[in-house]
C-alpha cells in the first residue's frame, strides 16, 4: 500500500455549521433546506395520511365526491412585473396546485396582509388583477380576510390563497402512480418567471423583453383528461424550477428519472441572462409550467394535445422514468455534449457568482 501523500502546506478546513439557529431565506427557496424544514418540522408534527401523499394539495372524498384542497402564500417583490403581478400569481398559483391534483379549481379564499401606507391605487390594481385572473382560471373568490400591519412590518402586501377543486374522473394522479417507462412531458419553455423577477429587482438591473410565464394550467390538464390520456402524475414548476419538480417526483415515486437537456426548451433571452448571472435555467422559477408523467405509448398523443393549446405550444418530451428500480431514485441529465450527470436539488436559491 502506498502511503497517503501529504501536502507541503498546512491543511486548513472550516468548522462545519451544524444547523442554522435562525430561519434563513434558503429555508423558503424550494431547495434542500426547505425540504429539510418540511421533513424535520412539519411532517412529523402534523403527521397524517393526506399530508404524507406529499402532493401539491390534499386529495380526499367528501360525501362521495373527490376533492382537492391546497394553500399557498405570495410575497413577491416587486409587486408588479412584466407579465403579471402578485394578484395574478396568488390566483394562478393556487388554482394550478389544484389542477396538478387533477382537480377542476372551483373556489378560492384570499387573505391579504397589507402594510400600513400601501397606496390605495396599488391595492385596487392588485384586486382587479385577482378578479381578471380568477375569471380566466374559471374560479370564484368566495371568502377572504384583511389585516393591516405597521409600516415596516410587511413588504407592501402579502397574499395567502387557499383553494378547493373537484375531481371528476377516476385517475389516481400523484407520485404513487408513476410507473417505470413513463414519458416525462414538459408543458413549455422554462425559467421566464424567475429571470423576469430578477431583471426588475433592485441591484441586478439588466434590460430584457422577457415576461413572466404566469398562467392558469387547468385548461391544459382538462384537455389531457378529456381526451383520454391516462395521466399518472402532474407537478407545476415553481421555486427551484424543473430540477426541483423532477427530484420531488423521483423521490416520492422512488424511481429514477432520465432527462435529455437538449429537449428542454429555454428562450434565448432567458439563456442569455442565465449565462451572465451564472445560473442554470433548470433551477429557475416558473409560474405557468408543469411536467406530466404519462404512459410511453400515449406520449405523442399527449404532446399533440398540449401543443394544440397556445399555453402548451412549446411542450416537449424531455425524458423517461427509468425502467428498473435497481438504481437510486435520482434524476440524471444527458448534457448537450452527450455525457450524463446527476441533476440534484440545490441547497437554497441560486446566487449570482463572482466570475
Amino acid at each position: 500500500m502506498t502511503p497517503t501523500p501529504k501536502p507541503e502546506f498546512s491543511q486548513a478546513c472550516p468548522i462545519p455549521i451544524s444547523d442554522y439557529p435562525n430561519v434563513v431565506m434558503a429555508h423558503g427557496g424550494g431547495g434542500r433546506l426547505m425540504q429539510q424544514l418540511i421533513e424535520s418540522i412539519f411532517v412529523p408534527t402534523f403527521k397524517n395520511d393526506l399530508l404524507s401523499q406529499r402532493h401539491d394539495g390534499a386529495v380526499f372524498s367528501l360525501a362521495g365526491q373527490r376533492l382537492a384542497f391546497t394553500t399557498d402564500s405570495y410575497v413577491v417583490q416587486p409587486l408588479f412585473f412584466p407579465g403579471g403581478d402578485i394578484g395574478t400569481l396568488a390566483v394562478n398559483g393556487t388554482a394550478n396546485d389544484l389542477a396538478m391534483c387533477g382537480a377542476r379549481p372551483l373556489y378560492l379564499s384570499s387573505g391579504l396582509i397589507i402594510e400600513e401606507g400601501l397606496p390605495m391605487e396599488t391595492l385596487w390594481r392588485i384586486v382587479q388583477s385577482m378578479k381578471q385572473a380568477a375569471d380566466k382560471a374559471g374560479v370564484q373568490l368566495v371568502t377572504g380576510d384583511t389585516k393591516v400591519v405597521d409600516k415596516g412590518k410587511g413588504d407592501g402586501i402579502f397574499i395567502n390563497t387557499a383553494g378547493v377543486g373537484v375531481i371528476e374522473h377516476n385517475l389516481p394522479i400523484g407520485p404513487g402512480s408513476v410507473r417505470p417507462g413513463d414519458a416525462v412531458l414538459l408543458s413549455g419553455d422554462i425559467g421566464r418567471h424567475g429571470i423576469t423577477i430578477m431583471s426588475v429587482r433592485d441591484g441586478l438591473g439588466f434590460e430584457t423583453s422577457i415576461e413572466s410565464d404566469c398562467a392558469p394550467l387547468w385548461s391544459l390538464v382538462a384537455a389531457l383528461i378529456d381526451q383520454g390520456i391516462e395521466i399518472h402524475c402532474l407537478r407545476d414548476l415553481t421555486r427551484g424550477g424543473l430540477a426541483s419538480g423532477l427530484n420531488e417526483i423521483a423521490q416520492a415515486a422512488n424511481l429514477p428519472i432520465a432527462i435529455d437537456e437538449t429537449a428542454v426548451p429555454v428562450r434565448e433571452e432567458v439563456r442569455g441572462a442565465c449565462e451572465i448571472l451564472g445560473f442554470d435555467p433548470i433551477y429557475v422559477a416558473n409560474e405557468g409550467r408543469f411536467i406530466a408523467f404519462v404512459p410511453a405509448n400515449q406520449a405523442d398523443r399527449a404532446l399533440g394535445i398540449l401543443r394544440a393549446n397556445p399555453l402548451g405550444a412549446d411542450a416537449s418530451h424531455i425524458g423517461t422514468v427509468a425502467a428498473t428500480t435497481e438504481t437510486r431514485p435520482i434524476v440524471t441529465l444527458k448534457s448537450q455534449i452527450g455525457a450524463n450527470r446527476i441533476l440534484d436539488l440545490l441547497s437554497g436559491e441560486q446566487l449570482p457568482r463572482i466570475c
Binding site: 501523500p5 501529504k6 501536502p7 507541503e8 502546506f9 498546512s10 491543511q11 486548513a12 478546513c13 472550516p14 468548522i15 462545519p16 455549521i17 451544524s18 442554522y20 439557529p21 435562525n22 430561519v23 434563513v24 431565506m25 434558503a26 434542500r32 433546506l33 429539510q36 441591484g203 441586478l204 434565448e268 439563456r271 442569455g272 449565462e275 448571472l277 451564472g278 448534457s335 448537450q336 455534449i337 452527450g338 455525457a339 450524463n340 450527470r341 446527476i342 440534484d344 441547497s347 437554497g348 446566487l351 449570482p352 457568482r353 463572482i354 466570475c355
Partner: protein, 360 residues
C-alpha cells in the same frame, strides 16, 4: 446563442475528443486552474469524453473556496455592526465562517445586500451618506479591475462612507505553489481564460520555462476546454513546454492594459493566506498606501483576527491536485454543500461541490 452554441456542439466536442485520443500515447495529468472550468468539466461531462490516459485534476482557482476563514469572520463581524450596509457578490453569502455565514447575519437583522457590481455598492454609499457601506472585494485578477474602479470612483466622488474588505488572490503564484510541491504530479496547465483576458499571459513564460511545463490559456465552454486539453497534450507528447493561447477570441498576449493600470493605481501585491493551502508569498492584492483609507479592516479594527481551522478534510490536497473528491471519506456523508467541512465544498465552483452536485 452566438459564442455559446457553437462551443457546446455535440459533434464538435466529439470531434475534438477523437483528435485528443489520436495524439495521446501515454498517461498525462493536466490541471485546470479555474473553478469555472472545473464546473464546466463536471457539468457537461467533458472528462468522460477524454481517453482514459488523461487525468484532469482541479486546481485552486475558485475565489470563494480559497478565501481564508478569518476573512469570512471579519466580513461577518463588520456586517453585524449597526449602521453598516455590507455588500457582496451572491456566492460569498453562503460561505461558513468559524460560527456562521453572512446569510445568518442577514437573518438576525444585519443589512447584507447582494450586488452584481462593486460600482452598485458605491452607488448605495452615495445614497446612504449616514451609513458605512462595505464591499467584500473577493476574486482573482478577473474581478480586480472593477473592484479597483469602485475605490477609485469613491475617491473621485468624495464618498467617505465606502470601504472594501479585500481578499484578492493571483493565479501565477498559485501555479508555482502547486509546481514546487514535492507531491506535484501535474504535467500541464489549462490557464484561466478570464484572468488572462485582464492580465495577458506573458507572466506565465518564466513559469513554463522554470518548471518545464506547458501552460495553455483556455476558455470555459466544452469545446474551448477540449481545445485547451488538445494543445496541452500535444505539447506534452512532443516534449515541449510553452505558453500557448487556445482562447484567442477573448485573450490577447498583453491583456487589457487600461484594466491593469486601474489595478496598479489602487492595489499593491502582498502575501496572502489561501484557505486549504496556507500563506503564499506575493500571491494577492491589498490596497496601496495611497488608498489605505478605504481599507475596511482598518476602518473597523478587525485586522488582527485569526481563526483556527480544523484539519479533518483533505481540501488542501484537492486544491493542489494531489487528491480527488471521491478519495475523501467524508465526501457526501459528513461533508455536503449544506454542511461543508472544507474549502472545496463551500462554493458551487469548488471541486467537491461540483462532484457532489453532478457525480454522486
Amino acid at each position: 446563442m452566438k459564442f455559446i452554441d457553437e462551443y457546446r456542439d455535440r459533434e464538435g466536442a466529439e470531434k475534438c475528443a477523437r483528435a485528443i485520443a489520436r495524439i495521446t500515447t501515454r498517461p498525462w495529468t493536466i490541471m485546470e486552474v479555474c473553478g469555472g472550468q472545473t464546473h464546466a468539466i463536471v457539468k457537461f461531462g467533458i472528462d468522460e469524453l477524454l481517453p482514459k490516459e488523461i487525468t484532469l485534476v482541479h486546481g485552486p482557482g475558485c475565489p470563494v473556496c480559497v478565501t481564508p476563514l478569518e476573512l469570512i469572520d471579519k466580513a461577518i463581524e463588520i456586517a453585524s455592526q449597526p449602521g453598516v450596509i455590507f455588500c457582496s457578490f451572491g456566492d460569498m453569502l453562503r460561505v461558513p465562517g468559524s460560527k456562521r455565514d453572512l446569510l445568518a447575519v442577514k437573518s438576525t437583522g444585519g443589512d447584507v445586500r447582494m450586488v452584481y457590481s462593486p460600482l452598485d455598492a458605491v452607488k448605495i454609499a452615495a445614497e446612504n451618506p449616514s451609513r458605512q457601506v462595505v464591499f467584500f472585494a473577493v476574486g482573482f485578477e478577473t474581478t480586480a479591475p472593477a473592484n479597483a474602479m469602485a475605490v477609485y470612483q469613491a475617491r473621485q466622488k468624495g464618498i467617505k462612507n465606502f470601504s472594501i474588505l479585500v481578499s484578492h488572490v493571483l493565479v501565477p503564484p498559485a501555479i508555482e505553489a502547486v509546481l514546487s510541491s514535492p507531491h506535484n504530479r501535474v504535467q500541464g496547465f489549462l490557464a484561466a481564460g478570464h484572468v488572462c483576458a485582464i492580465m495577458g499571459y506573458t507572466e506565465y513564460y518564466p513559469i513554463a520555462k522554470k518548471y518545464h511545463v506547458p501552460i495553455v490559456v483556455t476558455g470555459f465552454e466544452p469545446i474551448d476546454i477540449l481545445r485547451g486539453v488538445y494543445a496541452c497534450i500535444q505539447q506534452c507528447e512532443q516534449g515541449r513546454a510553452e505558453v500557448e493561447n487556445a482562447y484567442a477570441r477573448a485573450v490577447q498576449r498583453e491583456g487589457n492594459e487600461p484594466a491593469q493600470k486601474m489595478i496598479r493605481e489602487v492595489f499593491r501585491i502582498i502575501p496572502r493566506k489561501w484557505r486549504g493551502i496556507g500563506e503564499i508569498p506575493q500571491s494577492g492584492f491589498g490596497l496601496s498606501e495611497a488608498y489605505e483609507e478605504f481599507d475596511a479592516e482598518k476602518r473597523f479594527g478587525v485586522a488582527g483576527y485569526t481563526a483556527e481551522e480544523s484539519s479533518e478534510c483533505i481540501s488542501g490536497l484537492i486544491l493542489q491536485g494531489v487528491k480527488k473528491p471521491g478519495d475523501c471519506t467524508a465526501f457526501g456523508k459528513k461533508c455536503t454543500p449544506e454542511h461543508p467541512l472544507g474549502a472545496t465544498m463551500v462554493s458551487n465552483e469548488g471541486a467537491c461541490a461540483a462532484y457532489y452536485r453532478y457525480r454522486r
